[in-house]
């Protein structure tokens, strides 16, 4: 074998890497490595200009493999594989070394040590590149269909968009009726549209579209297969089972609503409602606006209930939508009865973007905003005869204590993850710290999950307003449609292979394979095992149990791993 020519490129990532790692030092040390013919530094490796430079380098120097030491491969592995391909290299001879998430960002306090670690990591990458071999991705046909799980606004809108592109859509809803959280709502912010009408008009279009099949009262029982070819078993109405084949899945199961604990800001007393309960009341009231038969004079809203907490109880995050929802509700209330006094006990008003106008409208219509600190949260007590009393320190009035007699306290609660444990189990969806589904990257890959072919949309991913939910739904549509409409998917060819010269034919591995991909094979030289690649998932269960080291996963060979270990440990 002729000596391989390897190019190594160290990324500054603006300063994300170079502020904490001496990239010039790394480059110098790597340049001295055997087989490294080119060692360069990029400001941003992912920029077009840097990519063009690297392509020119690969071509001019006839490189056989390249290493880019930059961010996590989760972000740019595909970017650089495509670049390698454009330069005429096999994409699997491109190796990405993570010196940002796993080096510069983790070791911001010791530049020398971080630099030494980065050198080791790049050496490991070079060792891997030296032993890398050209591989061909496994091409599979993709089913021209998508399953959308959850028929709330995001899911319905996504299903419709896909259906209109000619994709077969199975829209699966657990509830008896589609529409999710908005179906009974009379007036949604910011434009006061009717949730009921919105759902009805979408349903009408969904029914008229021949490509969409809607299942209600449906449950996901099982998922097998992988991107392009999922097989999903569902049960409708608790009895009829159906098996559906889809190329991709969009999960849009929405969120739940935080339920205050008993006694939290008076929760449990009559006339202490959550925002959703109050909106229900507002939606169902006609001309008169009565509470327990009495005219309402004052309403107090308490914001951030269960949100932005620092202790053990409640959630740490901000739910984004609740400030806007609450001020919108206050504006509606002002319109129903301008004589009602409305007092908002808030921590910070986050009516971001155009929703700021709602906040201004509420101010103009007479809502009064009082700012409380976490140290002195409002106290709600019951007063015999006259309803409720709320007492709080108003930071806007020199932290003076303000006491208000009120007929109604509205607890502005945020979103919490929906109850999805079964779905998480079946789909193996990654769940974030807060219990919502996790995307790969909030900016670079905002609707993709680590499970190829499974996308997330709407509030199941984290608190969102309706329009944000729809936007993420459409992003998931774009991603899933581009996958299923090409009709094929490429899978990494990381499947097992047998090193027949080492195989003793003991057959231990056959039972270790959960997918039945290994079988015995008679050869003139004796009995060995063989792999059925189409069944192999490449997890390597067989690799671990073979004492002869006669099995390996392509791209993760024994020699390669050992060489990487030596490079790192040396």
């Amino acid at each position: 074998m002729t000596e391989k020519k390897i190019g190594a490129f160290i990324c500054r990532c603006g300063g994300n890497i170079s502020d904490y790692v001496d990239v010039e030092q790394v480059r110098k040390e790597i340049a001295r490595e055997d087989n490294v013919t080119v060692a360069g530094i990029n400001m941003f490796s992912c920029s077009d200009a840097s990519q063009e430079d690297m392509i020119a380098n690969i071509r001019e120097n006839g490189l056989d493999g390249i290493v880019i030491a930059s961010c996590s491969p989760k972000l740019h592995l595909n970017t650089f594989r495509a670049m390698a391909e454009r330069a005429g290299l096999n994409p699997y001879q491109y190796i990405q070394v993570n010196i940002r998430e796993q080096c510069s960002w983790a070791h911001t306090h010791n530049k020398d040590a971080a630099t030494r670690k980065a050198v080791s990591l790049v050496r490991e990458g070079v060792a891997k590149a030296k032993l890398s071999e050209p591989l061909t991705p496994i091409e599979l046909t993709a089913q021209p269909s998508v399953m959308v799980i959850g028929a709330g606004l995001a899911g319905m809108r996504a299903a419709l968009a896909l259906g209109e592109m000619g994709v077969t859509v199975y829209l699966v809803e657990a509830a008896p009726e589609p529409g999710g959280s908005i179906k009974g709502r009379k007036s949604l912010f910011p434009d006061n549209s009717s949730g009921h009408e919105l759902v009805e008009s979408l349903l009408e279009r969904i029914r008229a579209n021949g490509n969409i099949v809607l299942y209600t009262s449906a449950e996901i029982l099982e998922k097998t297969g992988s991107v392009g070819n999922f097989t999903i078993r569902i049960q409708v109405d608790g009895k009829n089972e159906t098996t559906l084949s889809v190329g991709a899945v969009i999960v849009s199961t929405g969120s739940g609503s935080y339920r205050p604990t008993d006694g939290e800001f008076g929760f449990g007393l009559s006339c202490v409602l959550t925002l959703n309960q109050y909106i229900d009341m507002l939606d169902s009231s006609t001309d008169t606006f009565l509470l327990n038969g009495r005219k309402i004079r004052n309403i107090a809203y308490i914001y951030c209930v269960g949100s932005r907490r620092t202790g053990k109880e409640g959630n740490r995050y901000c739910s984004r939508y609740c400030c806007s929802a609450a001020v919108h509700t206050a504006v509606r209330t002002h319109e129903v009865d301008p004589s009602i006094g409305q007092f908002h006990f808030y921590r910070d008003i986050r009516t971001y973007g155009a929703y700021e106008e709602l906040y201004h409208e509420a101010l103009k219509k007479g809502s009064v905003f009082l700012k409380y600190g976490l140290k002195d949260p409002p106290q709600v007590t019951e007063v015999s005869g006259s309803g409720l009393r709320i007492r709080a320190k108003d930071l806007l009035t020199g932290a003076e204590t303000v006491e208000l007699e009120t007929d109604l306290v509205v607890l502005v609660t945020g979103m919490v993850p929906g109850e999805n444990s079964q779905l998480i189990d079946i789909l193996k969806l990654p769940v974030g710290k807060e219990g919502f589904f996790n995307e790969i990257h909030p900016k670079l890959r905002p609707v993709e999950t680590v499970m190829d072919g499974i996308y997330i949309a709407g509030a199941c991913q984290g608190p969102k307003t309706l329009s944000e939910s729809v936007v993420s739904g459409m992003a998931a549509v774009a991603k899933s449609a581009s996958l299923v409409l090409t009709g094929k998917v490429n899978l990494d060819p990381f499947v097992a292979r047998v090193l027949t010269e080492k195989c003793t034919g003991c057959g231990e591995c056959i039972s270790s394979c959960p997918y039945g991909a290994i079988s015995m094979k008679e050869t003139p030289d004796g009995t060995v095992v063989e792999i059925t690649e189409s069944l192999c998932k490449g997890e390597g269960a067989c690799v671990a149990i073979c004492n002869e080291e006669a099995l390996e996963i392509k791209g993760y060979g024994h020699n390669m791993i050992k060489a990487m270990i030596e490079a790192l440990g040396g």
Binding site: R297, N298, S339, G341, F343, H360, L363, K364, G366, S367, V368, L370, D394, L396, T397, G398, E400, T401, V402, E403, L404, E405
Partner: protein, 100 residues
């Protein structure tokens, strides 16, 4: 402690010229006031919005020490008619407190 007085609030709110509800407490008015009012205009207005009638009486000196010069108003990002609101408070004192 301030006890919210609904009746007073209604009266203050029904004055068409009283628009301090739009104030979002930025403090620009305070920074620019040539008098350096003992109680900042925004805090005074909050008492009105909360219906703290006794505070309005308590701070009547401040209400009467305003120059009505509108320096604050010129720079108010929310377009609060500060001078006019102060005048509305004076009228309230004259009519409802001093009974002139």
């Amino acid at each position: 402690m301030i006890r919210v007085n609904g009746e007073f609030r209604q009266r203050a709110r029904l004055d068409k010229n009283f628009n301090a509800g739009q104030c979002f407490n930025c403090g620009t008015c305070t920074a620019l006031c040539p008098v350096g009012m003992a109680i900042l205009p925004r805090q005074l207005f909050r008492y009105v919005l909360l219906g703290a009638e006794e505070k309005i009486v308590e701070y009547s000196d401040s209400i009467y020490s305003c120059l009505l010069c509108r320096m604050c108003e010129e720079n108010c990002p929310e377009g609060v008619l500060i001078a006019e609101n102060i005048r509305a408070l004076r009228r309230y004192l004259v009519e409802d407190v001093y009974h002139i």
